[in-house]
Amino acid sequence: MPPILELHGITKHFPGVLANDHIDLTLNQGEILALLGENGAGKSTLMNVLYGLYQPDQGEIVVRGKRITVHSPNDAIAAGVGMVHQHFMLVPVLTVTENVMLGVESLTAGVFLDRKAAAARIREISKQYGLQVDPEAYIKDLPVGLQQRVEIIKLLYRHADILILDEPTAVLTPQEADELFKVMRSLVAQGKSIIFITHKLREVLAVADRIDVLRLGKVVGEAGPKTATESLLASMMVGRQVELRVHKTVAKPGEAVLRVNDLRVLDDRENLMVDGVSFEVRAGEILGVAGVQGNGQTELVEALTGLRPTLAGRMFIDGHEVTRASPRRVVELGVAHIPEDRQSDGLVLSYPVADNLVLNTYYLPPFARGVVMQQPEIERAAAERVEQFDVRTPGIQTTAGSLSGGNQQKVIVARELSRPIKLLIAAQPTRGLDVGSIEYIHSRIIEKRAAGCAVLAVSTELDEILALSDRIAVMYRGRIVATVEARRATKEYLGLLMAGVSPDQIAPPEEGEEVQAVF
């Protein structure tokens, strides 16, 4: 039997980037092929080519032995190819049924939507593949895990045989991810074939039948889950030996620097996102805040940094009340903030690197004398920091927007950490970065801790939380449901807490169990 899908020599240029460089890839019927690679390795580009969202410059796509051309998603769907996108493609105000039938509607009298027939087929599919979901529910009311099911049902409803899952676990808790793996197993058992895109090594080893590793737009290696190890895959991904563990000394916590008392915060739509949170962070320790995206971490950080008004509760930094403080007041109290979205909140992309490096101190001497900016001083300081923090930029007058993600993040880290600070608030500090940049940023954060700075690290990546934290607070629906010592925490334990299981119902992990932090 020929492979169900073959890609031959797919090449795709973007201005300045060769995203896919003569990629060959084979998918057999009934297997899960993992496509492993760092952000920017070209995985998503390749899949968008296959799904008809991009046109390749060269190369051919062969499905079931027949060469096909894919100009639009319609062609892909017709060839039996379906894709679950990293950002869900669901319309929140429509129901599950409406979302699933959209584009392939069943009709009565040739005009009217036949919601009943569609819902019946959805129930059938749910039953066959173990994907329970209420067809009448509105997408906006469903948790992320269920929304993902709807995405998968959408493909099955269209009779897709080749399923592409693009970073499907990014938004899931470890338990939800395991649930997804079961679904994937059941799908291939019933004859479907899956391409699973990820950059997480653990998942690849857990679920894949075969592994292709992509680096800089090329397939650099193939491996089987039985023979591969995490460190082997990591070095294939990065192209060099990688240190997977973060080394840090035992914490010596001092006085509390940040105290938060019964804080409540609303989001823009007036949903209560932070619901009575209290905690403190002491000098010389790292408090990690774990949680699935959207459980109030964003609003918590915005409130702490003065960017979002609080509804109730009080916050103190170094003894000063900052409940209603302006962002500048917070900065002046010695707080550094690495924001969650570096492009919209961390940098002014159209400004040069030099100006971005003084965004929080531009009005102070030596960068300003009265209202006059001291350009030579700004440039001198910029040159120094670029050197010190290893920012790879053509020059300090290059706009921040033209740097790579890792270097953009380094600019932010350089700005925030190169002044005397007492508290560092780091939100998703390494999201979307390559392994090298992650190593670098983690070591900088640990350096600050060693220097007696209090650190609040917010991340949705459990590996990052486990690697950095001394204590871990788990947020679920706006509350801190538990705070645990990092050395006692395991991924499974935290995962259950993140999924909303009450701490009373889980046996905490045994004391002294060593945790391997791998990312």
């Binding site: 799904y51 769907i77 669901l90 959209l102 009217f112 939507l113 619901d275 009450s502």
Partner: protein, 427 residues
């Protein structure tokens, strides 16, 4: 039990918000009742009677309903008492989900108290007033439907004013030249659709800011119609003498006492609005076209990944909206006065957009809002006759002030389609 406590505390918080909302409404109801007493009941003599006519002018004597005569003071006082009681119950217990209905009721009582007061010792034709309300609401409804068609697919169309104005002129011009009202109406719709297509090309293909594109069309329409009007239509009267569609009473329905004359004895514009109202509603919510259009207006990328042509969907809806606006524009000339005057739409295109928003982008909601605005217009006309000592401009303002208050909090935030006004970029 972390999960349970979370939901409980969230519920408590929403509960608190509900209670505050409940109290605010209770107070508002009572304030309205007191205002009604202070303004209307207090200065009416006991013996005066308000007379409301219940017949249209053209009803034969044999079928006429007797006039409705009510004691002015007694009626207003009764309404004040009921409103206050509603407020008191709202404060004590709350009406829950029926609160908005109660708000509508109290507002209605207030308006009726005002009418009763204004009519004390006089008579007005209530049936005639309501008929005027309906006919004033027709162009507003059509404009709002046009807006709904565009915005549900994600294109903001503030050019409806300009579309209606151009359509009104073309209707008069072509209708006069051809001596055929139907051809005039067709010309109106095509003109409007063409301008809408222009708006579509600018905002869908060239991704121009949609407010700017719409404004450009409005200014262009105001200029070109005024020019043609002053150079030709006012000079050669035979070019501006199209006549109007006659009223056609619907058999049976128009014979219903009181109601029949108000709703079922009009010309094709009113009936067209009824039909379009239902067609747009059913189309949007029960057909493939509607589902796709709404998906495109909410999350175009999702629609695109499912093989739906976002651009084509938007073009289709914008042009359909243009046709509907053109039909509405025809009302101003072929549906009411038979001739074109400069800037005769007088901002009603914008008011239809207000009706659309107030109606939360739903056809029936928009039509309801259009009726409220239409009522205000017809009230203004009647009050001039009754010599009410309030400048008519203030009365005209009233429904919009009420709309602003309502939008600010009463009916809840009106949430537009998520991708409304955002040009779609293919990846």
């Amino acid at each position: 039990m972390a999960t349970v406590t979370t939901t409980v505390s969230t519920r408590m918080l929403t509960e608190q918000a509900h209670q505050t909302r409940q109290r605010v409404f209770g107070v508002v109801f009572i304030v309205i009742a007191l205002a009604s007493y202070w303004l209307f009941a207090r200065n009416v003599d006991g013996g005066l009677v308000s007379t409301f006519g219940l017949n249209q002018g053209n009803v034969p004597a044999a079928e006429r309903l007797p006039d409705w005569e009510i004691p002015s003071y007694g009626t207003v006082t009764a309404l004040v008492v009921v409103s206050a009681a509603v407020g008191a119950y709202q404060l004590a217990r709350g009406f829950g989900r029926a609160t908005s209905v109660m708000l509508g009721l109290v507002a209605l009582f207030f308006v009726f108290s005002f009418l009763t007061w204004a009519t004390r010792d006089q008579a007005i034709n209530l049936a005639g007033m309501l008929k005027t309300m309906v006919s004033r609401a027709v162009p507003l409804t059509l404009g709002a439907l046009s807006g709904i068609l565009c915005e549900r697919a994600g294109v903001v169309n503030i050019a409806i004013e300009g579309l209606m104005l151009s359509a009104a002129m073309m209707a008069a011009l072509v209708g006069s030249v051809t001596h055929n009202l139907w051809i005039g109406l067709l010309a109106a719709m095509l003109t409007s659709a063409l301008l809408a297509l222009f708006h579509g090309v600018l905002s869908i293909k060239y991704k121009v800011d949609q407010i700017i594109s719409g404004t450009v069309i409005n200014i262009f329409a105001a200029g070109i119609t005024s020019f043609i009007s002053s150079k030709f239509l006012q000079v050669f009267q035979e070019l501006n003498n199209a006549g109007t569609f006659q009223a056609y009473p619907i058999p049976v329905l128009s014979k219903i006492p009181f109601i029949g004359g108000i709703f079922f004895d009009s010309n094709i514009f009113t009936y067209g609005a009824y039909v379009l109202l239902i067609v747009v509603h059913v189309g949007l919510f029960y057909t493939r076209w509607g589902l796709r259009a709404r998906a495109v207006g909410e999350h175009p990328r999702a629609a695109d990944t499912l093989g739906i042509n976002v651009f084509r969907t938007r073009y289709v809806n914008v042009v359909l909206g243009g046709l509907v606006a053109g039909f509405g524009g025809g009302y101003f000339t072929l549906g009411s006065v038979g001739r074109f005057d400069e800037l005769m739409t007088a901002g009603r295109g914008f008011i239809s957009l207000a009706a659309m928003i107030f109606g939360k982008w739903t056809p029936f909601g928009a039509a309801g809002s259009a009726l409220i605005f239409g009522f205000a217009e017809s009230l203004q006309g009647k009050l001039a006759i009754l010599k009410v000592p309030i400048p008519s401009q203030f009365l005209l303002m009233a429904p919009y002030i009420a709309t602003m208050i309502a939008l600010a909090g009463v009916v809840g935030r009106a949430i537009p389609p998520a991708a409304d006004g955002q040009p779609y970029e293919k990846q």
